[in-house]
């Protein structure tokens, strides 16, 4: 390794123990080397900041474009898209009309809840059942995830397993199984409002509006990501 490579690896925290020793000796014995370390650190910071600004500009562009649709579209493409829209709108109208009011609420509001419990990223083919359950969940393999959460839910401090098991059941189109599980999340739990939100959606899917409203009361009761939506639905059902 040349001097700059050694410094660079030090700044990255990737020096081997032997190289770390060499490096520390150099620093201790040679004031010039210390000055060079400082210079290298600044260069690295400057280049990194420059590269990040560049990429951030690109991300801002994505963000802005995802907010508004593209304007210049070839006319034939536009016609084709318009034709598709008519068909889609017809289909949507047909399915919406054939949906119960509860199912409509479900369709409008249901979103898969993100994995907030075990976003761990390491481990060689982890055998930890919790990690496995969430891996399946993240991969959209809800059948497998449900089986694993089912096993986890009886362990201590495993309220999360009830919540995610319930969501798996909703994903699998089985609200009747989701509801009792979600209801088991204790009121003292941090996730109670979230669980009630999904419980309410489960009732809506079954078009049991009154039961759904009762569950929504819990969600609208205190701060959580679904509070506003819960309040809106309650208002619309009055």
């Amino acid at each position: 390794m040349d001097q700059e490579e050694l410094i660079n690896a030090y700044l990255e925290g990737t020096l081997s123990p032997e190289d770390q020793k060499i490096f520390e000796n150099l620093i201790a014995q040679n004031p010039e080397y210390k000055a060079e370390l400082e210079a290298q650190r600044k260069i690295k910071a400057a280049i990194t900041i420059s590269e990040r600004e560049n990429l951030r500009g690109f991300l801002d562009e994505i963000e802005d474009n995802s907010a508004k649709p593209k304007s210049r579209v070839k006319s034939w493409l536009f016609s084709a898209a318009a034709a598709c829209m008519v068909v889609l709108a017809g289909y949507f109208l047909w399915t919406t009309l054939s949906m119960s009011p509860g199912e409509k609420l479900y369709a409008r509001h249901y979103e898969t809840y993100p994995n907030l419990i075990a976003p761990s990223t390491r481990g060689e083919g982890s055998v930890d059942p919790k990690a496995q359950a969430f891996l399946a969940y993240d991969n959209g393999n809800f059948e497998q995830a449900a089986v694993l959460f089912e096993q986890l839910k009886n362990e201590p401090d495993a309220e999360y397993a009830l919540l995610y098991l319930g969501i798996c059941q909703l994903e699998l189109g089985r609200p009747e199984k989701a509801i009792p599980v979600l209801n088991l999340v204790p009121a003292s739990s941090d996730s109670k409002e979230i669980a009630s939100w999904y419980e309410a959606l489960g009732y809506f899917k079954l078009n049991m509006l009154d039961k759904g409203k009762a569950a929504l009361q819990v969600t609208s009761g205190s701060a959580n990501p679904f509070q506003t939506s819960a309040e809106e639905i309650l208002k619309s059902l009055e």
Binding site: A45, A46, I49, E51, D60, L116, N139, D190
Partner: protein, 177 residues
């Protein structure tokens, strides 16, 4: 797309892949972050930082052995950055701090206010394409000289070394003016 393919494309800095990942996780992350803050602007900043960290760590080979999905990794970085953010101080964040996994990521917040470093930055941006690419690989992606030698196809390692010295010299000299 296969996870391995996507990571390989990320390592190469492929912008289409970055865009796909950005859009795929945008909504989910917003929902996730809303648990901790209503500051939409800060959520957007943190999400972009998480993407930057993902791209950088991929380039540095830290995702080569990744067991989880890319999304899960991205959320782990995001959660870590929420915890580190000065603008968000929430009971919940602190409670969950223990289970957080430290993600290697230097924010360079202080450095961005250092005049000398910002001057270095603008001098770097004025360098020729060849120098820029070489220094970018070495400092930003933390590639070894051997890797850069293979990637950029220099005639010999000595030529590569002397080119790097020349590039660094012109960067440092531009500072003295």
């Amino acid at each position: 797309m296969e996870k391995e393919t996507q990571i390989a494309l990320l390592k190469a800095g492929d912008r289409e892949t970055i865009k796909t990942i950005y859009l795929e996780n945008q909504q989910g992350f917003r929902l996730f972050a809303k648990r901790y803050t209503d500051d939409v602007e800060e959520i957007r900043n943190i999400y972009q930082d998480a993407i930057l960290a993902l791209v950088e760590n991929a380039a540095k080979g830290k995702l080569d052995e990744l067991q989880s999905t890319i999304s899960t990794y991205l959320f782990a970085i995001g959660k870590y950055l929420i915890f580190k953010s000065n603008k968000i101080s929430d009971r919940k964040v602190n409670l969950e701090a223990d289970e957080l996994e430290a993600i290697p990521w230097e924010s360079y917040e202080e450095e961005a206010n250092d005049e000398e470093i910002m001057e270095l930055k603008s001098q770097f941006e004025k360098l020729g394409a060849k120098c820029k690419e070489l220094l970018r690989l070495f400092y930003y992606q933390a590639k070894s000289m051997d890797e850069i030698y293979l990637q950029l196809g220099y005639v010999s390692k000595d030529v590569l070394k002397s080119t790097k010295s020349r590039c660094l010299k012109s960067l440092k000299e531009s500072m003295k003016k």
